[in-house]
């Protein structure tokens, strides 16, 4: 990918479109051609679902289901989007989710209650993110290697803590959040948590100095450093942020599955990277879009849902997922060339 190196400031397509006096036209004409094409894909999928299984697919319960299943990986993807936007990568997200979930459920079995579980999950996530961040920012390690090491060791630690067992949670307050009675206006609490993380993520990336710095570091780290920004500290914060998202996701996964297991979060790193990439975040850094990432997650979850409703097997599902990644990236290249 020969991506033009963008200057260190906030002149990414998204940001400049906000400054445009006629934002709607700018939105349609530029960055959001991608968003619109993703919405088109999602609409097409909904159409396919609606045609093949009208009763089951277009059902409120199914909508709740799709959104709930998108929530956990969605939160991880928001964190991943920041990291990739800065030109980094975090391969350890799935392993961190596993470690945070088993640690938190170990606490749960010892009766520390709701707050203990939430606190532990978040703390473990942030702790792992801190290690990643220090290694990458101050140890000058390549993100791929540092987070690969974290992937291996966090999974190992999760296995050690559980001894291969499934740790079932019995705290009612936590389990209740996954039940239908706790839906707020028909929205499952997990989906609300996902929405909150998404909105905060969008605001931080698009409306704060922290967000602009993230984009700048991904665009041209050296120029950013010369502009007086502490690039290393920024990188540290970004991996912390990703770890934080993993901790939150682990807590959500505990609510969803009622347990902690060392196999939790399996392949989340791939799903999160894929969703961010098809959403329009550049793997080489310098451009990131939370909305695109979330649409990417929704597209994957909707495909899985449609396939399951039509009783297609997992091999077909994986092939289709691969095809969609390829197609989305090809479309992006086209739109990138024409704008």
């Amino acid at each position: 990918m020969t991506q033009p190196v963008s200057p260190p400031r906030d002149d990414t397509p998204k940001l400049s479109s906000q400054a445009d006096p006629s934002p709607w036209r700018a939105v349609v004409a530029r960055a959001d051609v991608r968003t619109l094409s993703l919405l088109g894909v999602l609409a097409a999928l909904i159409l396919i679902g609606g045609i093949t299984k009208p009763d089951e697919f277009l059902d409120t319960r199914n909508l709740q289901l799709v959104l709930t299943q998108a929530s956990v990986i969605g939160v991880v993807t928001v964190g991943m989007t920041f990291v990739i936007t800065s030109g980094g990568i975090d391969l350890s997200v799935g392993a961190i989710v596993a470690l945070a979930s088993v640690w938190a459920t170990t606490v749960a079995t010892q009766d520390f209650g709701f707050v203990g579980v939430l606190f532990t999950a978040v703390l473990v996530g942030v702790g792992c993110g801190l290690v990643n961040g220090v290694l990458i920012a101050y140890g000058a390690m390549v993100p791929f290697i540092a987070t690969l090491a974290m992937l291996a060791s966090a999974r190992g630690l999760a296995l050690q803590i559980t001894d291969g067992n499934t740790q079932v949670v019995t705290i009612d307050g936590i389990l209740d959040l996954g039940e239908r009675d706790s839906y707020i206006l028909g929205i499952p609490p997990l989906v609300l948590m996902f929405a909150v993380v998404t909105i905060i993520g969008w605001l931080v990336l698009n409306r704060t100095t922290f967000g602009r710095r993230t984009v700048a570091v991904g665009g041209n780290a050296e120029a950013t450093r010369l502009a007086g920004i502490d690039v290393r500290r920024q990188r540290l914060y970004l991996y912390l942020l990703s770890g934080l998202c993993c901790g939150i996701a682990a807590f959500m996964l505990i609510i969803l599955s009622g347990s902690g297991q060392n196999t939790n979060g399996n392949l989340y790193e791939l799903d999160a990277i894929a969703a961010a990439i098809i959403g329009g975040t550049l793997l080489s850094g310098g451009r990131g879009t939370i909305v695109g990432s979330v649409l990417g997650v929704l597209i994957f979850t909707t495909i899985t849902n449609i396939f399951a409703l039509n009783n297609l097997q997992s091999d077909v599902q994986q092939i289709a997922k691969g095809a969609i990644i390829v197609a989305a990236v090809l479309v992006q290249r086209r739109t990138a060339n024409t704008t």
Binding site: M1, K53, E56, D59, R61, N62, L65, Q69, G87, I89, L91, G94, A95, A140, M141, V142, P143, F144, L148, L151, R155, L159, D163, G164, N165, T166, V168, G178, E179, R180, A221, E222, V231, L253, L256, S257, G258, S259, Q261, N262, T263, N264, G265, N266, L267, E269, L270, I273, I277, L283, S284, T304, N305, A308, L309, N310, N311, Q313, S314, D315
Partner: protein
């Protein structure tokens, strides 16, 4: 600042790494902890010649494999005349071959091997046999009968068969009964065998039809995700067979979240939590089909008998059998008390 030099390689690298993790994550069936059986050893208890048994298994990242290790260790401890040399488990074929070769070089008297992949480990089994070390092949069978002296394992086809018969009997008076299947990891041979057995049994019940099948990954998370989709897809059905009690924890959670109780569920493997749920009889789970980890204890018995040149007490032969396949009993409310001690955590 170090930056990634090859963006192109990145996704592929990630894919390779993660695929490795996936394989490591889910090669077995379930979960357990306690060495369960205290049944009579296959060979007699009288102290005999000192025997060193080498044990090589896959990584115990799952309850059932954990229970396998525990069963082997605790049974070996029971015999004063047995020394157990146990290698660290690995799901990597090359690593496991290396570990077995180490045991061969150490000249153990008998080898017990639970291969991560039976086909891939056949050659090293042959090598051991040629070196004069008899091999007890546990659970995942080698390609060639020459590669082992004795095979002992579970009956995956039989699991499906017994689950299918149990469900068929429960539904035999019901017109147009609908059954769904939540399978395990689709890329494992054992999953195919379980499904084949299930389908074969259902053929005996013309009123019962399998309307859906989805594969999960032997994990709670995947069990919850796949089951909630299945429940959405099938607004009504009469029975569910879930291949594995570990992913069954997630499946039961999905069933509870969907507020459904209009069907019966049969599990697989025989975890403690599944048996407790069957005993309590307060959920849709009414039975589970066993795949007992106690086979590891039996493998130690057989290996000891091999090393001491004995037969199996109670049988007329002077030698141990060449093959032993365990029965996949159906545990339901009637007999759960008997089987509860064998449930693994």
């Amino acid at each position: 600042m170090p930056e990634l030099t090859s963006r192109r390689g990145l996704l592929f690298g990630t894919a390779a790494v993660s695929a490795g993790v996936l394989l490591t994550g889910c090669t077995s069936n379930d979960t357990k902890d306690e060495p369960a059986s205290n049944d009579q050893p296959a060979a007699d208890d009288k102290k005999g010649k000192q025997v060193t048994i080498g044990f090589a298994g896959p990584q115990a990242d799952h309850g059932w494999l954990n229970a396998i290790n525990d069963n082997a260790k605790s049974r070996a401890k029971k015999y004063e005349d047995v020394t157990l040399e146990i290698t660290e488990g690995s799901n990597d074929t090359a690593a496991q071959i290396g570990q077995i070769e180490t045991l061969i070089n150490k000249k153990v008297d008998v080898l017990v091997i639970l291969p991560a992949d039976g086909k891939a480990l056949t050659q090293v089994g042959l090598k051991a046999m040629r070196a004069g070390i008899p091999v007890v092949n546990l659970d995942r069978i080698f390609n060639s009968p020459q590669a082992y002296r004795c095979y002992i394992g579970g009956d995956n086809f039989g699991m499906g068969l017994n689950a299918g018969h149990y469900i068929g009997e429960q539904l035999k008076d019901k017109k147009n009964a609908k059954v769904i299947e939540l399978a395990g990891l689709d890329n494992l041979e054992l999953t195919k065998q379980r499904t084949a057995g299930f389908d074969a049994a259902l053929k005996n019940y013309p009123n019962v039809k399998k309307v859906a099948r989805q594969a999960a990954e032997f994990t709670v998370e995947s069990g919850q995700a796949k089951m909630s989709q299945l429940l959405q897809a099938q607004s009504s059905f009469d029975a569910l067979w879930n291949h594995d009690d570990d992913q069954g924890v997630g499946a039961l959670r999905a069933i509870e979240q969907a507020g459904r109780d209009d069907f019966i569920m049969v599990g697989g493997a025989g975890s403690l939590s599944a048996m407790q749920a069957i005993e309590a009889d307060n959920s849709v789970l009414k039975a589970t089909v066993l795949y007992p980890p106690t086979m590891a204890a039996s493998a130690i018995d057989l290996a000891r008998a091999l090393g001491q040149g004995k037969g199996v007490s109670g049988l007329a032969e002077f030698e141990i059998p060449s093959s032993l396949t365990l029965y996949s009993a159906v545990v339901d409310k009637e007999n759960v008390k008997t089987y509860l001690p064998t449930g693994f955590k």
